[in-house]
Symmetry: C2
Subunit: 355 residues, 2 copies
DNA sequence: TGCTTGAATGACAGCGCTGTCAACGGCCGC
DNA sequence: GCGGCCGTTGACAGCGCTGTCATTCAAGCA
């Protein structure tokens, strides 16, 4: 980049000045406003001028400056999203749904990762709001008070997803992690298992609520109240799943079923069982959570609790688009329960009739 | 949101006007410029005023408008990134490296997904450039001519990653996919395999170069020139891996080793082998590509070709930061080869001494 | 004392674009 | 034949912030 040209009016520090709308207009022999309209509302200008402007755009390889456009129009065409993890396939599906919904409609999706930390989430929310998104879609319901305030005062639609809360900031779409975990426990109990353990990582607020649901179901069935749980604060992975299962089975050798906080952990359990010659599901039942793609294809196939993450993000997008287009009114239903579904597969025994 | 207030000066369509720097300045009893300086260059204002401004910021829950700031200063503090997939764990690591490097330094990372499509990549690049990023980091070297031109004319540093090219747009950090694939084939051959197949999905330009390298190595060894390849255009997944392996083994039952385009496909192969009672590695060797987290933890553990994706993104970030801070000069080395590494594990036989 | 000097603060313009309204001209109907 | 209307086009201001230069004032020095 040739430097030493700085100081000239119109030279930015990045080097050569980028072509602006004025350059396009000049080349096409029209005013700046007309050029702008030719691009944004082609039907408002004559065909003749439109073609000239389009030609100029092509020749100059003009790209509109979104920042200036957003500032002038108070429309950023940006959606802010916060997810706790990029690594977890769950959020890949979720983000895919957001992109599928917004990109074709000319919206950008700005994504930040909170790494399962409330403090990082707060920072991410503040950063995103600085970009003046037209809506915020955040995974989870455990925002810090300041993050909550910022979201409330932002004046834009806010969708909290993944979980349900009595007290949503604005709109809430999710499922009860408590109930889903309880259902998984009930399913294992109905299949005849009596020494049921849990493996969870990382232990964020959502995972904690899953654990609560799990314990409640176990207790309801009058089973052991010994809390057979292996946890890890690190990110969930197959490797962590293996390690936690090894710890678990060493400490409680008579465990006969394990409910994992997600499918990566469950796959780790499966591999560790194979390594140790523990038969799945005969000697050990394994059920994961989320039902990501590989569950159905594993051998033995992995039972899991399917969560509607794509659907959740899709519905969130739909609602956001409706609010933005429409009057700004919120949907009548501010709390939408999308439920969950137990996916019985070969890593757990079929439900025994005699329970 | 109370509506019906539109039309008032200062009311945006989103409802209540957001607090601006002027509000903060007024509340603190200083001029707008001073408030701006109190936030950006605190050492330039007296402690007294700084505290007043900070208090006003807190009371009003003020968040600076990044768009206006960027427009005025010609510094967006944004990095544009394009990756071909969110689902693939490879890019989760890659994005993590970018975030690790840029976020602490006050940069945002804008990420768009090209879904392994050159046309979508071109659109993503145009969109990102509209945000005036201070650098672009794109995965791959196969940009369309228009995308290439846009990048060249953008005037910002451009880093092409994942692969090496003779003709980089600007800076290029990667590895030879051709060589890496050839090395995998050589490794299987050295382990005594003679009927080596390949499974690839999706078949983008990068995968095609891997295939070329693979075939070249096979041919060099004088092995079968029958092209035993199963491919799929869809996104790579464990499920696709299983299906492709099933197709492969039906068509060429005497295959004794398979090199997969990525680890998800490899895991699918492993599961399908188990389902069919094919012993790994005795009857079938499997080697994946990238060496994602689960390879080492699978049972049997999966051999793979480790690619330095975190390191690649880290180095890219480092170079970008250096260019931005420094004179704008490019590093002396515009093409950096980070290599690859064969990770021999239990899914392939150890290299036999007698070849 | 009168001057320079520098730190602290403010005034002003402008980043690139769009909303708004005014201006222009051709066409219609009476 | 003329006013009114609509379809086009342009002028202008301003979005919220920052770069730049001017201004102020106290301290320092001969």
């Amino acid at each position: 980049m040739g430097d030493g040209v700085s100081g000239h009016d119109g030279e930015t520090r990045a080097g050569r000045r980028r072509t602006t709308l004025l350059d396009v207009a000049t080349r096409a022999g029209v005013s700046e406003v007309t050029a702008s309209r030719a691009l944004r509302r082609p039907e408002m200008v004559s065909a003749e001028l439109r073609h000239r402007v389009e030609a100029a755009v092509r020749e100059l390889a003009y790209i509109p400056n979104r920042l200036a456009s957003a500032l002038a129009s108070a429309r950023t065409r940006t959606i802010g999203a916060v997810v706790p993890s990029f690594t977890n396939g769950v959020f890949a599906d979720y983000l895919r749904a957001l992109h599928d919904a917004f990109l074709p409609r000319g919206f950008q999706v700005l994504v930040l990762n909170s790494r399962y930390s409330d403090a990082e989430e707060e920072r991410a929310i503040a950063t995103l709001l600085g970009n003046h998104p037209e809506a915020m879609i955040v995974a989870g319901i455990d925002q810090t008070p300041r993050a909550r305030r910022l979201l409330e005062e932002s004046g834009v639609p806010v969708i909290q997803t993944m979980e349900l809360t009595e007290n949503p900031i604005d709109v809430n779409i999710g499922l009860s992690q408590y109930d889903a975990a309880a259902a998984a426990a009930d399913y294992l109990i109905a299949s005849g298992h009596r020494r049921i353990a849990n493996i969870t990582a990382p232990v964020d607020a959502r995972a904690a609520r899953r654990l609560d649901g799990f314990f409640a179901a176990v207790a309801r069935s009058g089973l052991t109240m010994e809390r057979m749980v292996a946890t890890d604060e690190g990110p969930a992975s197959v490797t962590v799943g293996r390690r936690l299962f090894a710890e678990l089975i060493t400490r409680w050798p008579d465990v006969d079923a394990v409910f994992c906080g997600n499918d990566y952990l469950a796959l780790g359990c499966l591999f560790e069982c194979e390594r140790r010659g523990i038969k799945v599901p005969a000697d050990m039942a394994i059920i994961g959570f989320n039902d990501v793609e590989f569950c159905a294809s594993a051998f033995p196939s992995l039972s899991s609790v399917a969560t509607p993450r794509y659907e959740m993000a899709r519905r969130a997008s739909e609602i956001v688009l409706e609010i933005i287009r429409g009057s700004g009114d919120r949907p009548t239903q501010r709390r939408i329960d999308l439920g969950y579904r137990i996916m019985p597969r070969d890593s757990t025994r079929p439900i025994s009739v005699l329970s």
